[in-house]
Amino acid sequence: MSKKKTERLFEDIRNMAMRLTEDDEALTAEGVRKELRETGVDPDDLRARFHESVKQLAERERLANRAVPLSLKRAVDSTRPMDQLPSDPVAATAFADRWLEKFRSTFALPTSLEGARAYRALDDLSEPDQRGLDELEAELKKKVKKENEPQT
């Protein structure tokens, strides 16, 4: 009985999760990366951590004299840092295509793009939006300052 109730609760959770992701399928790969950044996840760091983990798995297989499966090889290749091209020509071409796609998708504009203005002085911005803008400004200033620091 209790199990049924738990399942029902989980069904509600599952349905809500589906509602929250219903528009995500239409997002481009770059759009998903942007959403991750907006929720505090660094997609580059995530890819680097995953790459290290799959590299270790592949290394373990090689040391045990076992063939590295294609799925694992592909996982290593498709998450390489941008400055490490795979040695296999086919994988290298696919890697370069994905790299270029990141630039192209950045410029994909939504079809229903509208212009809008909001002024802080006229109370057009909600408090969270003001906070968000302040955080962005502070982050930008910090970045500029860091980039202009003399190299020691």
Binding site: R14, L20, E35, L57, V68, S71, S78
Partner: protein, 210 residues
């Protein structure tokens, strides 16, 4: 049967989309009025997504594999398969006795040192009239988080209502709220991000307490 080549699978994209889905599951937990106490080193959305994908590519783990009888995998098909796996793992994890929930309702104030109850106990409690009342309070707690953004709050109210959300299309919502469909879509996107952030911040806060 030959081994699938996986050339049409972008593992980075699969990973990113799995994290987004794991975040949505956590946000859905918050909407249901639940928040797990995450133990230090416990599973965040990123940990869970990465663990799911690693299980898939680890040859020593045979529990999550692409059947050779299936068609050549693509990013979309692998993602659809792993979302199911992640969902199952997520719910199993939450059922585990190790994880206990804290119910955030105003009546409990900000004292988050409550002992918490297991999800099964909570599910049972929700069936009672008191539990139903408490659930309503939890929905109010989530709505309160949108007090400063009334334009989002009116949609969140519908989103948390089991019947309401699907009863209105974006066009109908736009008509009801005297705005454009694009604005409704934009508001929904902001709500989604806010709920995911809310879930993530609750998890972090809890981790600091344990």
């Amino acid at each position: 049967m030959t081994e699938p080549s996986f050339t049409a699978v972008d593992f980075e994209e699969v990973l990113n989309r799995l994290v987004v889905y794991a975040q949505s599951l956590s946000a859905a937990m918050v909407c249901a009025g639940l928040q797990e106490r995450i133990l230090p080193g416990g599973e965040s959305a990123e940990d869970l997504a990465m663990a799911t994908l690693l299980k898939f590519v680890d040859p020593l783990n045979t529990s999550v594999k692409w059947s050779e009888q299936k068609a050549e995998p693509t990013t979309a098909t692998v993602l659809a398969y792993l979302r199911k796996v992640l969902e199952r793992d997520f719910l199993d994890l939450k059922k585990s006795k190790r994880y206990r929930t804290t119910v955030y309702v105003d009546a409990y104030g900000d004292d988050e040192d409550e002992a918490g109850i297991t999800l099964e106990q909570l599910a049972k409690m929700f069936e009672t009239p008191e539990g139903e009342a408490q659930r309503r309070q939890q929905v109010e707690w989530v709505l309160k988080q949108f007090d400063l953004e009334p334009e989002l709050k009116e949609i969140v109210g519908l989103q948390l209502d089991h019947k309401g959300y699907n009863a209105f299309s974006n066009q109908e919502l736009a008509r009801l709220l005297s705005t454009t469909v694009a604005d409704i879509e934009n508001r929904k996107k902001r709500i989604k991000l806010r709920l995911r952030k809310l879930a993530a911040s609750r998890g972090t806060k809890e981790a600091e307490h344990v």
